[in-house]
């Protein structure tokens, strides 16, 4: 249903296709753009086309970057013998923020999810296998999400990589530190109670 003049409706339709933006928000953003100075709107348009023109996926790890190799892969100080496997490039940002990890990454592009039609062939599993020998990978840390699909993917990779002689580890999951216990979900807190351990006395 077209309510607005052609170009506005086009913008509303395009915005409405973005994740997390409903029809009401799409309208609000479209009219906001209509009202701001032209330079501001052009800056947004340039940023959008720039991201498509200049950003590409890293040939090695499939992180986002501006060159054939991403910033991590092209950094010679990073330890290429240890690879952290994540579902999504945004997860790299989260791990980088810890400053605890000095190896390299591998972006799978999702997790095993038959309902969504995602199997190993839809993930970058073969590319990961192809990196093990040439890069001398000694340890793979599986950093997929702590949900059902992420855990299934972790198990799949562990079974696949284990026999090849690569050490496979999984990040521990548990209660958020520095947060309040009252905000922990039932499953995390419940499992933490079931899996309690004796303290040194």
């Amino acid at each position: 249903m077209s309510v607005f003049a052609g170009p506005i409706q086009e913008l509303v339709d395009e915005l409405g296709r973005l994740p997390g933006i409903g029809p009401k928000s799409a309208q609000r953003i479209a009219f906001h753009i209509l009202e701001v100075p032209k330079e501001e709107a052009v800056r947004l348009a340039t940023a959008i086309s720039g991201v498509k023109d200049r950003i590409r996926l890293c040939e090695r790890c499939f992180n986002v970057g501006e060159a054939a190799l991403c910033a991590v892969c092209s950094d010679s100080r990073r330890d290429s013998s240890i690879v952290c496997v994540v579902e999504d490039p945004r997860d790299i940002v989260a791990v980088e923020r810890t400053r605890e990890f000095h190896g390299t990454y591998h972006v799978l592009g999702g997790a095993l999810n038959p309902i969504e039609g995602v199997g190993p062939d839809q993930l970058r599993v073969r590319d990961l296998l192809g990196r093990l020998e040439p890069e001398g990978v000694a340890e793979v840390i599986i950093c997929t999400n702590p949900n059902l699909e992420g855990e299934a993917t972790a198990m799949y990779l562990a079974r696949l990589l284990g026999p090849l002689g690569t050490k496979v580890t999984r990040i521990a999951s548990g209660l958020p530190v520095g947060g309040d216990l009252e905000y922990a979900d039932e499953l995390t807190l419940g499992r933490a109670l079931v899996g309690r351990r004796q303290m040194a006395t």
């Binding site: 038959p114 199997g119 299934a152 198990m155 499953l187």
Partner: protein
């Protein structure tokens, strides 16, 4: 053990809810309140409103719009209840287009959990007859509801089991009956997850059933004294470990593109006096079985959570003879109970309060 926290409804106001224009119900805060009325006057709607104040859903399995009176834009519920020694004020506005507006003591709440915390109900409806004679999914559902209410952790495992099954069945459909070596690895993973979570659920259900047996047996003996001992037993769809059973049924599963063993195929066997409840008991006895199961889960949850839910019995006397109906009234646990009936009260029963619902007016 400390006595349970008693929940009871002090007053319930309904506006434009179903065919009830404007009604106030003030049940007895402890003991039995009976609501009499002909069929179709809206007795069930009163109980539906109580459950809505607890779960923000209709127990009749309809969209929320269905509870709004024809031609009205919104229905409103206002419930004052006692939770232990606290008075809690719950108000819910149900509107056609927007989300429900829910307030607890004047504070807006977004999460249904905030209501469940203060108001829990045990509901018996005439459809519960199917617990005794219907498909296994209803009996599993009864156990799962009690498990989730007693343990949020196991409730999350139940949700997880459901998702694992959907993932595994989706994979089986994609495989189309053939298993290539590459796919074997992924199917193994889902089998492993299913075996792990499935065993947790099967064990939880079997343990719960064991705890329910003495409670249900006592209730059944009171309701149907001549019917012999009630037996409840968990019937797993597999023998031994679920992991081994999944391996064994793999060819079958691949061919049928469906998971054929696991907790989703388990059942609860019921018999009384050695007679199978599904096929050999009279409908009256089957009703007693269903009532006994509900009363047992009510009692179990009260002990397990330390909170006594409000007991709601919709049209509970239907198809019961006078003696059984009287036993039901006498067998009710302490705490608040609301019972609706289209007929008369069994002689000799003494409810704390009796109302009549006629033409949308309670008197």
């Amino acid at each position: 053990m400390a006595p349970p926290v008693i929940t009871s409804i002090l007053s319930l106001e309904l506006e434009s809810f179903r065919n009830l224009d404007s009604v106030v119900l003030r049940p007895s805060s402890n003991g039995l309140t009976v609501i009499k009325g002909d069929n179709g006057v809206g007795k069930t709607s009163l109980l539906e409103a109580v459950v809505y104040c607890s779960t923000l859903r209709s127990f009749r399995g309809v969209a929320k719009e269905a509870v709004i009176s024809n031609g009205k834009a919104q229905a409103s519920l206002h419930c004052v209840l006692l939770h232990g020694s606290r008075t809690v004020d719950v108000s819910v506005d149900i509107t056609l287009s927007r989300r429900d507006r829910v307030q607890r003591n004047g504070q807006r709440v977004d999460n249904g959990r905030d209501l469940l915390e203060v108001l829990q109900t045990t509901l018996f409806t005439p459809d519960d007859l199917e617990l005794a004679k219907g498909s296994p999914s209803l009996r599993r559902g009864l156990l799962d509801d009690v498990i989730a209410a007693a343990s949020p952790r196991l409730g999350a495992e139940l949700a997880s089991l459901d998702r694992i099954l959907r993932q595994r069945n989706a994979l089986l459909r994609q495989l189309g009956g053939r298993l290539r070596t590459d796919d074997m690895a992924t199917l193994n993973i889902w089998d492993e997850r299913l075996a792990e979570t499935g065993e947790i659920i099967s064990t939880a259900r079997a343990n719960l059933l064991e705890a329910l047996v003495p409670l249900a047996r006592r209730a059944f003996a009171a309701l149907a004294p001549g019917a012999g001992t009630l037996e409840l037993f968990y019937l797993p769809s597999y023998k031994g470990s679920l992991a081994a059973a999944l391996k064994e049924s793999r060819d079958d599963d691949l061919r049928r593109q469906l998971t054929t063993v696991g907790p989703q195929r388990d059942d609860v066997g019921i018999s009384a006096g050695g007679l199978d409840a599904r096929s050999r008991l009279s409908q009256g006895r089957q009703r007693c079985v269903a009532l006994a199961l509900r009363l047992a889960s009510h009692e179990y949850l009260t002990a397990a959570t330390g909170v006594q839910p409000v007991l709601l019995l919709d049209d509970a006397f239907s198809e019961l003879d006078e003696k059984t109906a009287r036993s039901l009234v006498n067998e009710l646990p302490t705490g608040q109970a609301l019972l609706t009936t289209a007929g008369s009260l069994p002689p000799g029963s003494e409810p704390d309060l009796v109302f009549s619902l006629v033409d949308g007016v309670i008197s």
